[in-house]
Structure formats: structure tokens, C-alpha cells
Symmetry: C2
Subunit: 389 residues, 2 copies
Amino acid sequence: MTFQQAKRAERMNPSIIREILKVTEKPGIISLAGGLPSPDTFPVQAMREAAERVLRDNPREALQYAASEGYGPLREWVAAQLNAQGLNVEAAQVLITTGSQQGLDLVGKILIDAGSRVAVESPTYLGALQAFNPYEPQFVSVPCDDNGPLPEQLDVARGARFLYALPNFQNPSGRCMNAARRDALMARAQEIGLPVVEDNPYGDLWFDEPPPAPLSSRWADGSVYLGSFSKVLAPGLRLGYVVAPKPLYPKLLQAKQAADLHTPSFNQRVVHEVIRDGFLQQHVPTIRAKYKSQRDAMRAALEAHMPAGCRWNTPVGGMFFWIELPEGVDAMALLPHAVENGMAFVPGSAFYADHPKLNTLRLSFVTVSEERIEQGVKALAQTLKEQQR
Amino acid sequence: MTFQQAKRAERMNPSIIREILKVTEKPGIISLAGGLPSPDTFPVQAMREAAERVLRDNPREALQYAASEGYGPLREWVAAQLNAQGLNVEAAQVLITTGSQQGLDLVGKILIDAGSRVAVESPTYLGALQAFNPYEPQFVSVPCDDNGPLPEQLDVARGARFLYALPNFQNPSGRCMNAARRDALMARAQEIGLPVVEDNPYGDLWFDEPPPAPLSSRWADGSVYLGSFSKVLAPGLRLGYVVAPKPLYPKLLQAKQAADLHTPSFNQRVVHEVIRDGFLQQHVPTIRAKYKSQRDAMRAALEAHMPAGCRWNTPVGGMFFWIELPEGVDAMALLPHAVENGMAFVPGSAFYADHPKLNTLRLSFVTVSEERIEQGVKALAQTLKEQQR
């Protein structure tokens, strides 16, 4: 090839999940593999009205170049929202991003040198590994239990540039850190001077009670916080945000400016128009109720059908069940058989930076109906039983 | 600070232009400094109707996660459009980006290692320097005349990862390469194996006749082409595209996926809805006519008022005049005096990767009225005369 590629390009790979989804996109397959929110939850009518109002009242501002920081009133809204959840931030610390995926890219860009150590949970969000990878870090997995990273094991991450953590209904494991774990983890992180990048796309999707206050509320100067509108409004708008301590903010802003100048002003104004008068207070409970009911359906199906030796925890929010199969079962090898039986899942190995647990898989309960959840889980159980014979 | 920053963060800086614009944002100042298109040209009504149709007919698709490559019909449209201009590309080579600024970032990400040489024009687009800078290149300026880079001087760029070139109505110089220069430049680039990254945000804004066929049409395998909807529709949608040779495309796509998953599907569908039936064939001529008339107003004002010893070429498209002041006049030092006299410009030194010509400045003729263009130029001329006394 004429082009000589950068060394970092070798670290980029097609998403394994994407490749898996292609294979499983056959008609009739019940896919519990996706990570998409349910389109039934998109507030289409509110969006239509908001788009119309923005283009009627402020078309020039909505369609012109805008500030790299983001739309002022939206930044104010984000700050107020986070402060109600226990943070203590100013709008000036909020950077609007093109989805929270961009937040991950920008954080990687300003904090990771080739060879830097970056600590992650085990398992962790695949998209973050993909975002950080081009900056050539060395990943360090922090040992975790059902409650998240183990504070007493955090020393393995000493000297890392940061710990990347998803405390609420983690993708893929569904787990949620309790308050005591958050306290202990952040206390230890601060003791060893390990900054934390907290990613919270799912926090609003709690079923019975809100999760404890963010990790960042426990050590503000050492935390970067990422949020998103993808799960409470719609992902196709690509709207997220990063909140950073004041000394770090200018570099993040410069990286943002270099990356795409600014997030579309139209989208920022439409979303602000939708949410400004408390819309989410009515809307998000409807998502919670729907997802909770589907979570219940999947739990019931798992209990009814899965063979002995499988283990899962019931997520108290979010979108995913995480299943541990009996030792020795390789979920990746199981997948083609499951697809033959009419269902698909994501093998868990994709979500590990190192030492993947091959006997794990992720099931989404939000995109298919309760009836099909039951059928899909039944087909998975059937596949397992066939393969264990 | 708690956070240890990446080495590349040192290379990021606040945009000089941004800082200048802040200083010049005083009430009453006639700013010829901006690089924004005129909001009078935004097709607001067409956007309103398109947004409404998209949210009425395909709300779930428009608001859901989507393919990283971009919206299929929009990619088809881009390919067809470029093929009509002399390229020979397939839709599969088109990647939709969040503005063409993101295209620059992705190109830098996959092609630049720390210390790589990257060749640029002299002067060149500041935003590209900002996009490439975090990847720590060593810039090499290729000597240029009024027609662009000099093919016989291209050897200074031997071994560079690519030459970044803006052949049409370049920002900041306004110059347009003629066909003979394009032929000679690309022939020489191919001889020495120097790939070319061609950036074309302004190509549609020609006043009398379209510019010659793209550089990329002359050496397809060695060229990456960037385009944008910012200047023909509206920049606030952040919609651009990159066209890459097939062997390079997958890495670009993986970089895109890591950067923001995909460009907002809503925006892609709205723009496709606006342009699908030939809207731009009616719309772009109105922008050309407006900008040409304002170009004429600025030319007349320059001829009427500027003191002897100043030099400029009349741009045949785009948005900018590039002025060379008499040797020894420092445009940066002149700026505060110009602001005092009621006008603002951008000092040319910001647009050089190295060896800035201090006696240059850029004037935009598209955002203020013809009457104020005349006043602004007069104030600039007045300032020059005062300072030369």
C-alpha cells in the first residue's frame, strides 16, 4: 500500500461484537446479543416538537458553528442534574461530547501515552477498550467480585494513569457497586494517587431505588465523570458529556476542538428543548418500568430453563444479565449452536482486557418482547444441554 | 494535579483564532476575522421540512444506534456527486464523519506516529494543524506560489506520511490550483511516493467556473479526499466525509468507531432528505451569487482604500482574501490598533506550520454586509496608514 500506517493503527480492530452481530442477523433469530436501547422508549413526539421549535425560533444559531464546550443551557442542565445526585460541579466543568464514546476517546487522548498503564474492571466495557487502545496503553485488570473492583486489590493498578470504572449496572456484568464499596474503592484510589474515570451511561435505569452517589462525589479532584443521553432519550443523536476537574478541563477542551470542533449545535438545542422543563422526570420512569418487567421475564426464564451449574445475579437496573456457564464451557464455541437453535448472545470473552473467562456470556433483556425473551432463553438452555451431553 | 497528562497533550493549544475572536467580540466591531459561512445561506425551511419528514417516517432508525460507516443512501449520494466531478469511487469508500474536522483527526490517528513528517502548504488551514498536532508529527512546509505547492520543491517532503493540500479557494490564502499545477503536483507526488490528503470544504463555492477536477482524480490509490456539508448547507449539523482507497478504509473505519461510534443518524438522514432530489443544484448557486457580490465589494474597497505596498489576489471562489502588507509590518501588532478603529482580521502567522510571514492577514467577505465590508476595509487601511507614519 502507498500509505504507511501509524503504529497505533495495529492496535485497532474490528469490533468483535459487530462481527458477531453480523453472523447472527438472520431472519427469525431471537437476538439477546444487542446492546441497543429499546426504540419503543424513544420520545418521538417530543423530539418532533422540539426540532420544530428549535428550527422555528433559533435556526441560525442551531445551524451555525458553535462553542467547543457545548451549548450553555445544556451544560447548566447537566451540572444541575449531577449536583442533585451528589456531585458538586459547575457548568464550566461540563464538556458536551458526540456521545460518551467520544468522551472516552478524548480522555484517552489527553491521559494515555504509549506504554502507560490503564486499570480496568474485569470484565469491562468493550467500547472503552476500543477507545483507549489507539493510544497504546498497557491494560491492567483489577480483580472484581459481584460488587465491582476490590479495593484491597487496587495496588495492582498503582502508577496507572487512571482506573476506568462503571459503578452502575455495568455493561456487560449488570453489577452495581454498593455505597460501602464505593467509599472503600475511592478512599484507596486516593491513597495511592490513582485517578478514576467514571462512566455512567446506565445510572438512570434503576428499577427499585437509585444507585448510591457517583464515585466522583467521593474524590472530585481525582475523578472524571462521563454521562450520556443515549439510554434515557435516544442514541442516534450522539449526545454525551464529560465532567472534569478544572485543571484538566482546558486540555480536554482542546482535544475536543481538534477532534470535531463541536458537537452538533442542532442536536444539543433539540435535546435541551426536550428536557428543559422536566420531561425526563415523566419519561425515564416509563423506561424503568418497561425494562424492569423485561428483566423479570428474563429472570423467570433463566430460573425455569437454565441447566444446573449456571450462575447469574439479578441486575437491579440497566440492560444486561451476565451468565457464568459451568467451568469448561466455552461460550464462543457455543454461539454457532445457539444460532442454529434460533437465538444469539455475546460471548463474555470480548469484555476482558486480559485473562478472559471463556465460560461467560451477556444477555440483553431490553430489545425483544417478554415472549421472545422466554423463547430465546429456552433456546439457549436447550443448546447448553445438547452440548453438555 | 492528580492527573498525569499524555505527552501529546503538550502539543495541544487553545486556538489562536478563537482567542483573537474573543478579544474582537466587542459591540460595533466590524469583524472580517470570522471563518463562518453566512447564516443567510442556511436553508432553514428545507431543514424544517426534512427534519419533520425524517421523524415522521423513520423515527426509530433516525434515533437508534447506526452503522459506523454512515447512512447508506448518503454515502451513495456522496460517491455519485464526486464521480460527477471526476473521481471514480464507490459508496463503500465513503465514511461519513462528524464534520470534516473529524476526518482530519481520523486521518492523523491512523497515519501519524510521533516524529512522522507531515507536509503542509504554506500557509495552510489552522484546524488541520490542530487536528494533526496531538499525533506529534514534524511539519514540513512545502514552498508555494499563488497557485499552490511548487512541484519542483516537493522533494523537501520526501518520506513524509502525506502532503495535506487544499486545492480549491484555500483557507486562508483563497488560492485555487489550476489544472496544470494539479497535474504536475500529483505526478511528482506519485513519483516520490508521497500520498496526498486533499481537503475540499470550499470547492462548490466557485464564482465563474468550477475548479479543475480534484487532485485525487489524478492518483486515486495515493489519495484521501475530505468533503463537507458545512459550507453548502450548514455547519451546525457537523456533517462531512472522507473517501479513502480500499486498503486504507478499514483502519479509518475502526478509528471512527473508537472515536464516536457513528455520526448522528438523525443528522445524516435530515441532510439526505434535503439533498436527495437535487436541492443543492438550486441552492448552491444562490450562495455563489451572494459571496461573489461580497467578494466584489471587498475587492473594490481594497482597491479604493489600501495604501501602496499592500498586495492581494482576487479569489475566484470561497470566503477569503489574503493580504500581504508591506515588508516589516507585523499584522499581529497591527490588530489591537485595528480593533480600536472598529474592525478585526486574523493575522496570517496563525496559518503557518513554520516560518510564519508576519506581514500577512486574512479577511472574510461572507459574514458582513457589503456596506460594512467597505467600512471595515477602510478602517483597516486607516490603521495601516496611522501605523506607517
